[in-house]
Amino acid sequence: MKSFKNHLSLITALITILFTIQVFIVVERSINAYEQNLKNDYSIIVVVNKSLEKKNFLKIDSTIESAEELDPSHVIDTFKDEMKEQNLKLLKLTLPKFYRVRLDHYPTPEEIEKVSKKLLRHPMITRVEDFARNHDVIYKLLLLFKEVSTLFAIAIFAVTTLLILKELRIWQFQHNERMNIMALFGAPLWMRSAVLFRLAIVDAILASLLVNGTFFLAVQYGWLQTQLKAIGITVDIYVLPKDPVILSVVAFVLSILLAMLVIAGSKEDS
């Protein structure tokens, strides 16, 4: 029971940190997935006098990823009842060409303005519709979400750092006396510190097992994925083996670092 209590406080701090890291990873993935969705949905409509090949568009700006010609058939079809077949053909020939231009990332309002200006400078392009106003609102919402999630992560990190520091002081208090007594009888540093490293390693194993187990079960159960799918985001909550490796490495490095700090901070009573 006493031994369990010794472990519990460090395990709790480690679990909090690991949980925060994994949640932040999932939030980042969700934001990136949402940004990808926005990028896929966003395009600039360009009106051109004559046909332009994709390579001509790519030359205009390096952020342009693709350009596809829009079929005007459904527009022409609306005049089917009012115009003769011959006139319709003529209209089809004289109509300007419409292109949907996609960019390689979700652009900032400044980038949109820049690309639009470059497109308009092309002699064949007569008009550009960049839906800048609509885009601006969505972009600002995305930025806000990103900033809020970062602030949230920083706040949790600060709290857990305080937890770790508190734990550090408890460890110092708990183990300094024992280490001093061992030093009085000539124990080398590694022998005096062995108990701390053992405690740190055991706690790191337990904390990473608990957090990895929780996320593994969360994925199996699928509740979180269902919630994200509802808002159109498909994201990996727990990627094997990348995520357990990241969490385990963080747990080990943190707890070993903690043990080393305690050892560095412990002074022999004189």
């Binding site: 061992m182 009085l184 009888f185 000539g186």
Partner: protein, 223 residues
């Protein structure tokens, strides 16, 4: 006879302005029983600290077990401490360890095998009449019993020198007598050099002893 401790112009201080021991000169032969007395704050415990390397001499030379303590390296200090047994007024037992493991500590540090260590601990706990308490923890024992455990620990690795800092300071008369008997036994039977810092020398000592007194930073032998 070999000298276990040699001090030449030994000056001890916690800071530059406050000298505790001033240019002390004394030596202690192997197998001697030595008392160091003096009023509170005279520097008795400070001198003891310098003997086990917890305080570095400010000036002069202090040789313990053939090792110069001034500027001693950590590795060499650890090696020296494995040949010294220390007893404190507050016992300094490891609370999380059983009595048996506490007594075994110097043997673990020195690298004795498990079998040898267990036999030695068994012998010592029988000697201090605490064999039946081997599995208990220090806080479950009385002060006198804890000090007997500390004595057993100090003797476990057959040290060349036992340093005791007011070993009976917290004990009643009966427990104090038990501790004095154990210290005398270590000196007469094992020929271990014993140095005790104390306020009062017990009246009925059965061994010959040397007596140093410290006053105003000076150490002198009481003849």
């Amino acid at each position: 006879m070999d000298k276990v401790i040699v001090a030449r112009d030994l000056t001890l201080a916690y800071n530059k302005d406050e000298t505790i021991i001033n240019k002390a000169r004394f030596s202690i032969d192997s197998g001697e029983f030595v008392f160091i007395t003096g009023p509170s704050g005279s520097g008795k415990s400070t001198l003891l600290k310098s003997l086990y390397g917890a305080l570095t001499p400010q000036h002069g030379s202090l040789i313990v077990g053939g090792v110069e303590m001034n500027g001693i390296a950590a590795k060499k200090l650890n090696f020296l401490r494995r040949h010294i047994g220390i007893v404190f007024q507050d016992y300094k037992l490891i609370k999380e360890w059983t009595i048996e493991k506490n007594v075994m500590l110097p043997l673990i540090i020195t690298g004795y095998s498990k079998d040898v260590s267990e036999t030695q601990v068994d012998k010592l706990l029988t000697h201090v009449k605490l064999k039946h308490q081997a599995g208990k923890y220090p806080q479950e024992l009385s002060g006198g019993e804890q000090q007997r455990v500390a004595m057993a620990r100090a003797l476990s690795h057959n040290p060349i020198l036992i340093l005791a800092d007011e070993p009976t300071g917290n004990l009643d008369d009966y427990s104090s007598q038990v501790i004095w008997n154990l210290l005398e036994g270590a000196n007469t039977q094992l020929k271990t050099t014993v140095l005790v810092v104390t306020h009062h020398i017990p009246e009925h000592m059965s061994v010959d002893y040397k007596h140093f007194n410290i006053e105003h930073g000076n150490i002198y032998e009481v003849l």
